[in-house]
């Protein structure tokens, strides 16, 4: 059983389990699945700065902070007890393309060749980590949700705005990954 759990989980196991998080949170306490709101709660609790958007009772949303701290712990547990030594196996076409940017290390969830402490102050590293992170935080809040809040929770509840948001997530991602990011990775 443990050996089975250590293998990468196929989509038809992982996907339905992610889907079950929706009823689990609803039944446990009427909570809608969502992760990006935690970033707003962190702002509201630590750096509200008198901004109207951060003036609300974030303590009522504390569950969300426990939830994301759990995600962090889940990452630790996966690596400590459920990790498999093999590198992630992706499409050979991608391997070839990434090799041309000098990305060859598949041992981690992020490419260690370009996303590491050392490269943080290079232009490429700055773009990948700081600009990228900023866009994630700014964009999800502007859109009112992320992949979990809109694509999973919103679509589960058949919300049309969530379909628009999800479509835009994908358009943005396709544009960046195919038209802009390759240019940046080359430099």
């Amino acid at each position: 059983m443990l050996e089975f759990l250590k293998q990468p989980w196929p989509w038809y196991i992982a996907g339905p389990l992610i889907g079950l998080t929706v009823p689990a949170l609803l039944i446990l306490g009427n909570k809608p699945l969502g992760v990006s709101s935690s970033l707003r709660h962190i702002c509201a609790s630590c750096i509200p700065s008198g901004i109207q958007f951060f003036k609300y009772d974030w303590k009522k949303e504390k569950w969300n902070l426990f939830f994301v701290f759990g995600i962090f712990l889940g990452g630790i547990i996966s690596v400590q007890f459920l990790s498999n030594p093999e590198a992630v196996r992706v499409n050979p076409k991608l391997v070839k393309e990434l090799a041309s940017y000098g990305i060859t290390d598949y041992s981690n969830m992020v490419p260690g060749d370009i996303i590491n402490w050392h490269s943080l102050w290079t232009l490429k590293g700055f773009f990948l980590m700081i600009v990228g992170g900023f866009l994630v935080g700014f964009g999800t809040r502007y859109a009112g949700g992320c992949t979990s809040g809109h694509a999973i929770m919103g679509l589960s509840n058949l919300q049309f705005p969530s379909l628009i948001a999800t479509t835009c997530f994908m358009i943005g991602g396709f544009t960046m990954a195919n038209l802009i990011l390759p240019y940046i990775l080359l430099h």
Binding site: P8, P10, W11, Y12, A14, P16, L17, I18, G19, T21, P23, I27, G29, V35, S49, I51, F53, N64, F67, V68, G70, I71, L73, G75, S78, V79, V88, V90, N91, L94, N108, M109, V110, I115, L120, I130, G133, F134, L135, V136, G137, F138, G139, R141, Y142, A143, G144, S148, H150, M153, S156, P161, I164, A165, C168, I171, G172, G173, T175, A177
Partner: protein
Amino acid sequence: MEQPESIQEKSFADNWYNYIKYLFVGILFGIILVKSEVISWFRIQEMFRLQAFHMYGVIGSAVVVGIVSVWLIKKFNIKTIDGQPIKIAPKTFNKGQIFGGLIFGFGWAITGACPGPLFAQIGTGATVVIVTLVSAILGTWVYGYFREKLPH
């Protein structure tokens, strides 16, 4: 004077019980994200190049299970474990879903992570992702600061 104190203590205990269950669901959610490799930067690149079905399978089947679950909850009027009726706030459309959605899409392709995976990636030992997370928090703050001036 004693009574209010004990009430307070009781609600404190209730709180802890209430929060631990979300921590537990978060842990499971995090393990699923890692083991299905959806938090892998490489898998995200593959998805946006249409080079694999994996991510579409994960998100698609998650949505199908979510739709069926929510439908069952509504159909059978399923209550929470505390006996409360389940209510899901509807989303209202605004232009933020378009502009913000596109901006988040850019960030998703660059970092290979949405907010959930950021927390999981840090847990897997990619400590530098803490910088990405702090930057995401800053991005959220800047959105809050300029919110009134942005088209919605």
